[in-house]
């Protein structure tokens, strides 16, 4: 979530130890109180206060989200994330209605069905790997459904996603190694080719799915070119999957840490929307988003040169006491919660309403069927930095 992409701001928190990766809030606080604008070699200026982060979001001309902000081996700008205003608006005009709450609400039965089918597979076993069997497949299956693609393509989908987002993990070498760079390029090419092929099919025969709608979408009398549609699809693949998986991992990590919060959901499922907002705030699954300065400027008194990156640490903004005095308390009864877990400004996460729906439905269906669960004794949760997801989450029920 966070932003139209889902972040990909680089691994500013890459040096975190497992404990800090699992509970990063004290790290954010320490940075806020010592170096709220911190220059980090290879990353840029790291921002951890709400004030500077809002400044960045409100000034997309100065702090651009263009291709210089993040490199994911895409050959053209991702749409709409890497397009700046005013052109950005024309794409959002097409995409926003497709992801507006009214439209997204229609998906609720499908999401509930997919969630329940996943639960069916392990509920009687008394344990599961929450990441491998629930949080990873669910958002990908929802996306396959929306795009009108067969669920059998799940493994292809996951391979493409992981190859772009964490090629270093897949290849088992450092991020800047030539093999990793080459692999990421290869996967990027395969993503364009995959969607190109599906779009060829939809050109011949339209269906009731998102890809068909893209082909017929028009703004200011222009339809989207094939390349433009591919650039949207590429972004969807890397923005819509990992981010929701990470959110589920973070939420259930919190809930296994706090049985009283888990019990509160079981006792009164009507609190789920508030739980979603508060855990989005507290956990901030997508920890940061990147921008690049287009002119010489300053933030919080620190000079920023044109061409330099800034990394808005959303988790820092969301735990800033200047915005929320009791920010270190997790409360499901807040009157005010202005979290920026989906980013802010013109690039506010396009999929935020879909993400919220998936999270609400997942919590509801899960707790109705598996009210009691815990981290498997002896297991440790190792969160990846940046997008805070888990590769494995051994869980026991009852």
């Amino acid at each position: 979530m966070a932003d139209e992409d889902g972040s990909y701001g680089g691994d500013v928190m890459g040096a975190m130890d497992p404990e800090s990766a699992r509970h990063p809030q004290p790290v954010y606080k320490a940075l806020r109180e010592t170096v709220p604008v911190m220059a980090v070699e290879g990353v840029g200026h790291v921002l951890t206060r709400r004030a500077e982060i809002e400044e960045v979001f409100r000034d997309p001309q100065t702090f651009s989200s263009n291709m210089d902000a993040v490199d994911l081996s895409n050959v053209r700008p991702l749409i709409p994330l890497q397009i700046d205003p005013p052109e950005h608006k024309k794409y959002r005009k097409i995409l926003d209605p497709l992801f507006a709450p009214k439209q997204v609400a229609l998906l609720e039965p499908s999401v509930a069905k997919l969630a329940n089918e996943l639960i069916d597979a392990f509920v009687d076993r008394g344990e599961c790997d929450f990441s491998q069997e629930f949080s990873i497949p669910l958002p990908s299956q929802v996306f396959l459904t929306i795009l009108g693609l067969p669920l059998e393509d799940l493994s292809t989908f996951l391979k493409m996603k992981d190859g772009i987002i964490r090629p270093d993990h897949v290849v088992g070498k450092p991020r800047d190694h030539e093999d990793v760079v080459a692999y990421q390029r290869e996967i990027a090419d395969s993503i364009y080719a995959y969607f190109d092929r599906v779009l060829d099919e939809r050109e011949v025969e339209r269906r009731d799915d998102l890809l068909s709608r893209f082909l017929d979408a028009e703004v200011d009398g222009h339809s989207l070119s094939r390349e433009e549609i591919l650039d949207v699809c590429f972004l969807f693949l890397i923005a819509g999957l990992d981010t929701v998986s990470a959110s589920l991992d973070c939420f259930y990590g919190y809930l296994t840490d706090h049985p009283e919060a888990r019990q509160a959901i079981v006792d009164d499922p009507s609190i789920i929307p508030a739980v979603v907002e508060e855990l989005l705030r507290w956990e901030t699954p997508v920890s940061g988003v990147a921008r690049v300065a287009t002119v010489d400027t300053e933030l919080g008194g620190c000079p920023i040169k044109a061409g330099e990156n800034v990394m808005a640490v959303l988790g820092g903004a969301n735990t800033d006491e200047a915005e929320l005095p009791d920010s270190f308390e997790v409360r499901f009864d807040r009157d005010v919660n202005r979290h920026l877990a989906f980013g802010g400004g013109v690039h506010r996460c396009l999929g935020s309403h879909l993400a919220r729906l998936e999270l609400r439905v997942a919590l509801r269906e899960w707790h109705a069927r598996i009210p009691e669960y815990a981290l498997k004794p002896g297991a440790e949760l190792l969160y990846t930095p940046s997008i805070r997801s888990l590769e494995t989450f051994p869980m026991v029920f009852g």
Binding site: K93, P97, A100, P101, K102, R338, G344, G345, H353
Partner: protein
Amino acid sequence: VRLELDRDRCTGHGRCYTLAPEVFGSDDDGYGEVLVDGDVPTALEATARTAANNCPERAITVHD
């Protein structure tokens, strides 16, 4: 009280119409809009204020 929603500032987080659907609505693109013409009925003032306070972009002003 009257409500003013700054369309240039709203980026479609959707907090207002989620928290106070009696007072705020969503357009087809998911951006907020004020549903009440003129003064907000007294019974809805508190919920309207809560919704305004929850806007991440501070796009809503409550005029007393």
